[in-house]
Symmetry: C2
Subunit: 325 residues, 2 copies
């Protein structure tokens, strides 16, 4: 089983994430072999398993009574994440995911709808098996709802050139930060850590998630291989306006009137939009906000007990939030 090279430096994490991926692979085994294979390939395509990783790292600050439960919960977080990715790719008509064809591109829309649905049931089943109390399930249900509401926000805000920074932040809070926050928090819950660590976990997870998504949105514009690549063109054409553009629009709305062409925007039009985002400091400002969230996260991580896992948390967070692609 291959795990993302990000983890090569951390053998203890590597080991635990391999266990997590075993649970994931096993949990999607059903009599429909095509579906099982499609999902196992999707898992193998190498997500970084960040959400399970943060969960596992935070669980180290207490005592987990049962390893089976730990890995089931870790797997459930990645499974939920995968379900939302697969359905998002249907909605965005994304051809590519993790450098491979998306499920909908490879197998068609039908399989993709059911693949996501099936992962929701797997998620639900893993949780039902691993939760000792119905409270844990209630908090999971609430978590899932908030993620969905974040995705609906995004859809609702499409083509809205008056989208505010606040609205953007609210939607990425649901779409991305919620699951990071929840993963960290659930780690402390399952390990029954001190209340102080539980509170820190929630704050840290939230800050990491916010920084992570903002940075993702910045990298869409700046990563070398991405220079005006398809996702940006598509995102702007589809009316998904992210923070760099929102900041630039706030500086000079008239410079972006051309956006009203919507799906009719030509590649040249979008080149102009991107030039104006640079000119009105959209990327700089967004990067700055990501750095603020990162710094807050790092400051809070420093307040955790001084362990090997805290060290890994620090390095991982620095590395993720200073990545260039």
């Amino acid at each position: 089983m291959a795990i993302h090279p990000l983890w090569n430096k951390y053998p203890t994490m590597q080991e635990q994430l391999i266990e997590t991926q075993k649970v994931m692979n096993k949990s999607v085994k059903i009599r429909n072999k095509e579906m099982t294979e499609a999902l196992q390939l999707f898992f193998e395509a190498g997500g970084k398993l960040l959400r399970p990783a943060y969960f596992l790292l935070f669980s180290s600050f207490g005592h987990v009574p049962n390893n089976k439960i730990k890995y089931q919960m870790a797997a459930s977080l990645e499974i939920l994440h995968a379900a939302t990715l697969i359905h998002d790719d249907i909605i965005d008509d994304s051809p590519i995911r993790r450098d491979c064809p998306s499920i909908q591109a490879a197998y068609g829309k039908d399989i993709a709808v059911y693949a996501g649905d099936f992962l929701f049931t797997v998620y639900f089943q893993l949780l039902a098996n691993s939760s000792q109390t119905t409270e844990a399930l209630e908090s999971n249900a609430l978590n899932m709802k908030r993620i969905l509401v974040g995705e609906l926000d995004q859809m609702h805000l499409r083509h809205n050139s008056r989208i505010s920074i606040k609205q953007y932040l609210q939607h990425i809070k649901g779409k991305t930060a919620q699951l990071f926050q929840f993963s960290c928090y659930q780690g402390t819950q399952v390990a029954n850590t001190s209340l102080r660590v539980q509170i820190l976990a929630q704050r840290i997870g939230y800050q990491i998630g916010m920084a992570f998504q903002i940075l993702d949105d910045v990298l869409d514009f700046t990563s070398t291989e991405a220079e005006l690549h398809k996702p940006i063109l598509e995102d702007i054409r589809n009316g998904n306006y992210t923070l760099p553009l929102i900041y630039a629009m706030a500086e000079n709305r008239d410079a972006f009137m051309i956006l009203e062409k919507g799906p009719e925007l030509t590649d040249d039009d979008i080149q102009l939009v991107v030039a104006n985002i640079n000119r009105y400091h959209g990327l700089e400002k967004a990067q700055k906000l990501a750095t603020r969230y990162t710094d807050k996260a790092l400051a809070d991580i420093a307040k955790l007990p001084d362990t090997l896992e805290r060290q890994i948390l620090t390095e991982l967070t620095e590395r993720l939030l200073n990545r260039q692609d």
Copy 2:
């Protein structure tokens, strides 16, 4: 709040189903108003609320400690059903559901994917709130998984002109009978009935579900307004072969060679297929099998304690399974 006229004759049921629908409408209230409205309209469009009804009827054979929990569970069954319908309509490209435009036809594919996903979270939340034990959640998770596997079977069997009767029965068991069976069973669970009633509930639910789906598939061919209407044409073109066709093919496979044209089948071709289904007794045989399941269900219902609810169960089941449209 309007409830399907089916319930006019049964005021106690009407009352309880209105309470159930209140929980449903309330549970889909979120800040995305468009989504809330779409779903409330979908609920109002008047499903018969059969799954909650069977749940409620079976809960009458014991004692439900808490009405709030009862209505949450009843609502959760219809919510799960609605989620699967909405996603099925995406996959089948169905323009119509309950005599209204389907969610995907009215609001587009994007809303339909998220509407289903959102209902899964609502389902999950209702259950987490109403379940006192994690066992109840495990059985719900397993139920959901079996339904999904049934839907995958259907997809997998498409355009397979060698589909056997056994395969058809296995797939409708998952797709339809599972949720009827589970609804009846969950009613006896929440009311803590005798074990005998619990076992009967499962059998009865299964038999009703099987009869219900077979009859549905027969009515697609025979209901007066349906005379060669779009759903049949589409079903056959899409390769969804149901029991009347399977029975007829078993009688004379050569008469159905034309099916190999698949999506290229003309309306005339399909008229020929339908004529041959009649000629080779497909409808008669399917109807007969539905009647066998119905008779078994009625015989088992007669073994329940002699109450008003047993009377309603008998009438309801007879009426449903002898319906003409």
